[in-house]
Symmetry: C2
Subunit: 457 residues, 2 copies
């Protein structure tokens, strides 16, 4: 198997494993206790905090360990909002944040706060100007990821931090995807990250809160981790997390170059090898290991199964791979195609051979799925009605509505139009994206379920 889903979780780094084993023997006792075992545990915890703080670029007393990156984000946002309650209850987030940030935002809205979602361009990037425009007198906090987890696009964190700093608003950076590659630049105020993304164990997140940032931890707390992360510390995992962060950092510069070359190869070759493909995300300002593309007329779940059978583990933002049958909010915000979406995220150590094998397998896998979906056969669903073609794809799921549209477009005279009826949430994103890829005009949506397309070529 080739595991190409490092952005979701990385296998344990050998250094993490070694550190974990050693700390299982020495770090199981309560670090708050005065006896030998407790003091030993405390020393391990303190050393891990020093190491992690150095990698983050903050003081040790600014950093606490949480039980996951998600918890670090939840705790950071809730604490920063509460700390600035007098200023107001307005939160700024980008439209492409990790779900942990968006769930925190929903929580705020449910508690009568307000949220501004800053839009992104087609590469998935925000602009500092847009953050500046979103700032209000009652803005308590702004959040921005260092780089996007689905398409790899790096965000202009330093510029956004500067805009926020000038307005006196703290910026929380979700550095989950990038911390293994290097510290986050710029004058951020809070930072959250997750160890299992950099080859550390699950169960460890970290939250840094700069001195001077108003912060009031919410919910029941205890005396552990400066009152910011209740519950008995998982010291063996924390030790392993800090050790592996240091280890991946030592290899980061070289490994980043290598993976960037491999993902660049995928970016360039996939459109040559597979027809009707859209590679998304910023081609330059991006994480080294992530490349994402979407394949027209492909059912994402079936494609994932095909690739899994061929020995490749990847993930997808297609609607059919989510439990809610809605496409990824990231692809939606970018306005790009979501059907047949594939995210390849290479773990450190991925070889050129692995990538070449993937490129060899992909075209056949996509073609197989398209064949099953009958992409090249004429459609029975199209009916000519009142000078306009109507495709009735009601009750059919992605990628069928787009496939039906592609089948009939040849029957539409140039300048004429076709209405696609669809109650599938993905169609709202994928039909305009198809038009853009195909050079056709997307006229608009009627009555919430009819999508009008005019043939231009």
């Amino acid at each position: 198997m080739s595991y190409f889903d490092a952005a979701s979780s990385s296998p344990l780094h050998p250094v993490a494993r070694q550190a974990l084993l050693a700390a299982l023997d020495d770090g199981w006792a309560d670090p708050a206790r005065l006896y030998g075992e407790g003091r030993k545990a405390r020393l391990l915890l303190d050393a891990a905090r020093e190491a992690a703080a150095e990698a983050v670029g903050c003081r040790a007393d600014e950093l606490v360990f949480t039980t996951s990156g998600t918890r670090a984000v939840h705790t950071g946002i809730a604490g920063a909002l509460a700390g600035r309650r007098r200023v107001g209850r307005h939160l700024i987030v980008s439209a492409v944040e990790h779900s942990s940030v968006l769930h925190s935002a929903e929580d705020l809205v449910a508690a009568d706060g307000s949220v501004t979602e800053v839009p992104v361009d087609r590469t998935g990037a925000v602009s500092a100007r847009a953050y500046g425009e979103a700032l209000r007198p009652d803005t308590a906090l702004a959040c921005l990821q260092s780089a996007n987890h689905e398409v790899g696009t790096a965000q202009p964190v330093a510029e956004v931090a500067e805009v926020c700093r000038a307005a006196g608003v703290p910026l929380l950076v979700d550095a989950a995807q990038s911390l293994g590659w290097g510290p986050v630049e710029g004058a951020w105020s809070l930072l959250a990250a997750s160890a299992h993304k950099w080859g550390g164990p699950a169960g460890v997140g970290l939250l840094a809160v700069r001195k001077g940032v108003r912060f009031a931890a919410q919910g029941p707390v205890d005396e552990r981790e400066s009152g910011r992360s209740p519950g008995f510390e998982n010291i063996p995992a924390i030790v392993a997390a800090a050790a592996s962060l240091r280890a991946v950092r030592a290899e980061a510069a070289e490994e980043a170059l290598r993976l960037r070359e491999l993902t660049e190869r995928i970016r360039a070759r996939v459109p040559q090898l597979v027809p009707d493909v859209d590679v998304v995300g910023d081609p330059v300002r991006r994480l080294p290991g992530i490349v994402t593309f979407s394949c027209l007329y492909v059912d994402g779940e079936t494609l994932l199964h095909e690739l899994d059978r061929a020995g490749f583990s990847v993930s997808s933002g297609s609607s059919c791979t989510s439990s809610t049958l809605t496409p990824s909010h990231v692809l939606k915000a970018m306005g790009v195609l979501s059907e047949g979406n594939v995210r390849v995220s290479l773990p450190p150590g991925t070889t050129e051979e692995d990538v070449e094998r993937f490129l060899a397998v992909l075209p056949g896998a996509v073609a197989g799925v398209r064949e099953k979906l009958g992409v090249s056969t004429p459609t029975p669903a199209a009916v000519v009605a009142e000078h306009s073609l109507v495709v009735d794809a009601l009750g059919k799921r992605c990628p069928i509505p787009v496939i039906e549209l592609a089948k009939v477009i040849g029957d539409v005279p140039v300048g004429g139009s076709v209405r696609v009826l669809s109650d599938d949430e993905a169609a709202r994103l994928d039909i305009p994206a198809w038009c853009e890829m195909r050079g056709q005009e997307y006229v608009g949506e009627e009555e919430g379920y009819a999508y009008v397309v005019r043939r231009l070529t």
Copy 2:
């Protein structure tokens, strides 16, 4: 070193270590993913849930894994309170609950809810009658530990559950100290526990919520653990937790007998070996491995250091061993002496020799501390004022006020009284406890810092 603080945290059980190592290789991927590594992780997680549910005595779909016992308690209480918000915002807890329960209660009070603390008797036990009396029409939830973490006293959970059931109020049981020994009897509604107490790894708690119990998880959630515990699952640790629970249960009956004999030996011998000692907690209805006693005229922190030097790791509920300089809330609620408090909690596998060595070392350690404190020398602090003796111990910390009292009591004529001036929080508990132990009369407190004692014998 002999580690006698298992109630705080247990070293990793060999089975836990083995399971953890195996699951590090197979359980690091995201169990929500469709590919091979994800399916493998999902299988491990499902199997661990089945095993844990069997040990708890609930259905697998009633149990979620949290990141600590503390989180299980916080989540359980917040979710149950929110689920019954329409009924009211009244919570019942015992006065001797773990701090995680009491912190949740404080959180409710801060949010304009109300809390009734059910008192305990001198053994630390609540009565079902007292829970019955605390029930109100607006009671949303009641909480009770299965057994106390500081003195080992078992609580009448089944009876309290019955009283709550009759009133239609759910009961949350904090089973942290007892789950390794066996399932909790009775019709409880929610149950929380912590793996590192039974020899599992840190970072794993469990929360069971019976079907039919109204529950609404609070704070931002995600799709993991039925929406009750957000953040990436720590599957290797969860697997190790479930495996070790099964392993300790297999040894529980035999080991309970053995440890009970050893703690019984400590209970019986300590008062013979050490003068002026009070063994606390229920002598019969109790956990097998815990025994707690308090030594008059002893500074708890110094005693802990002496025992640590002699090779024994124990903990204490004395005020001088807490960061807030207040005695343990458990000892306070029981109304027993807190000075020179020692909790011995034996981990499975403790040998008779360990215990005998402890009993050999303890008398000298206590005597050494008393000698340093000058317990047998006459006091210069006592002055005769207006027909009544006054001991000015203002500004002096536990155990000095009680030592000063003991020094002058011989100078008081039988029937006469002495006033001890003390601004130490521990005096409020320890002076009445000393009177009870010494057969003298505690008359009462004056102006918040003067404690009046009448000599009877």
